[in-house]
Amino acid sequence: MQISDIERDAVAEIANIAVGRAAASLRQIVGHEVLLSVPSVDILTQEEASHVVAKPGNRALIAVCQNFDGPFSGRALLIFPETNSLQLVRAILGQELPLEDIVDLEDEALAETGNIILNSFVATMANVFKRGLTMSLPTVLRGDGSQLFAGAAGEKELVLFLYINFEISQKEIHGYLALLMDIPSLEMLRTLVQDFLDTVAPKGAGQ
């Protein structure tokens, strides 16, 4: 399965737009600027994708995960090293809460935050493409990369894998926003990319 340069470019650019919106939502929640990397887009097996997020020192991960379905389907994840999780929850809930409350609320706070950010991310992509996508409820997963991606596709199955690093300034919290898209969706994506171009400048206009 190949992806052409313009298709890779389109997915990265649309993800860039979507993650910009998602970062603004996260910024509102944590009250600190969110720094973003340039998105990477690749066609990988699910196994290879899990190696990308499971870099050395990143073995124990925690993720909020939501599946989406529609003209294209897949899984969106907000991933952190587990060591960052409580810091993030503290950033969300405020410094004044005692540690035991933070631990109690950890999953709930992560799921809710993930829900806002992932919805913002996926909904912006859906809006750019002018197509509706439905999203599952958020679930919090713990494990290494392969456990987070399990069930998104077969291990050896190819997926379109997109990820972006982010960092919360002054908080030493970093993580990834990742998206795994089913390959059968890619054909649809090609059509949507063309539609996206046409909405801004219809064919023949000022060519």
Partner: protein, 127 residues
């Protein structure tokens, strides 16, 4: 009068979108494309550029660094930073540079509003 607009974005698609929208609004204006900050500075040396549209999130020097460089070299050039990153800090930094914040996805309406303001500014400077 016809102007030359420099469009800087690492995404070819985003450059196509911007140039197509520009061609629709001002068919007689020229669009010069650059894929990063280095290419943008080279384009600026090679030809007269009146207005710049700059993406924020690019490999190498990002849009804010490039906008600051452009502002130093060309104090009167209308510059827009185009991004979906609507965080307050970003919008504030864009404004500090005397540039205009234009949200992505770029719409013809938003681009047209920026270009109208840019034309007025250029005319005023020329007087």
């Amino acid at each position: 009068m016809p102007r030359t607009v420099l469009v800087v974005d690492d995404s070819k698609l985003a450059r196509m979108v911007a140039c197509k929208a520009l061609a629709k609004i001002h068919p007689d204006w020229a669009c010069v494309e650059a894929g990063d900050a280095t290419q943008a500075m080279a384009a600026l040396q090679a030809q007269d550029v009146d207005i710049s549209l700059i993406d924020l999130n690019m490999p190498g020097d990002g849009g804010l660094v490039l906008a600051a460089d452009l502002r130093r070299k060309r104090p009167n050039m209308p510059i827009a930073v185009v991004t979906a990153n609507i965080q307050d800090e970003i919008i504030a930094r864009v404004r500090e540079l005397g540039a205009t914040f234009v949200p992505k996805p770029l719409t013809e309406e938003a681009l047209s509003a920026f270009l109208t303001g840019a034309s007025l500014r250029l005319r005023k400077v020329a007087q």
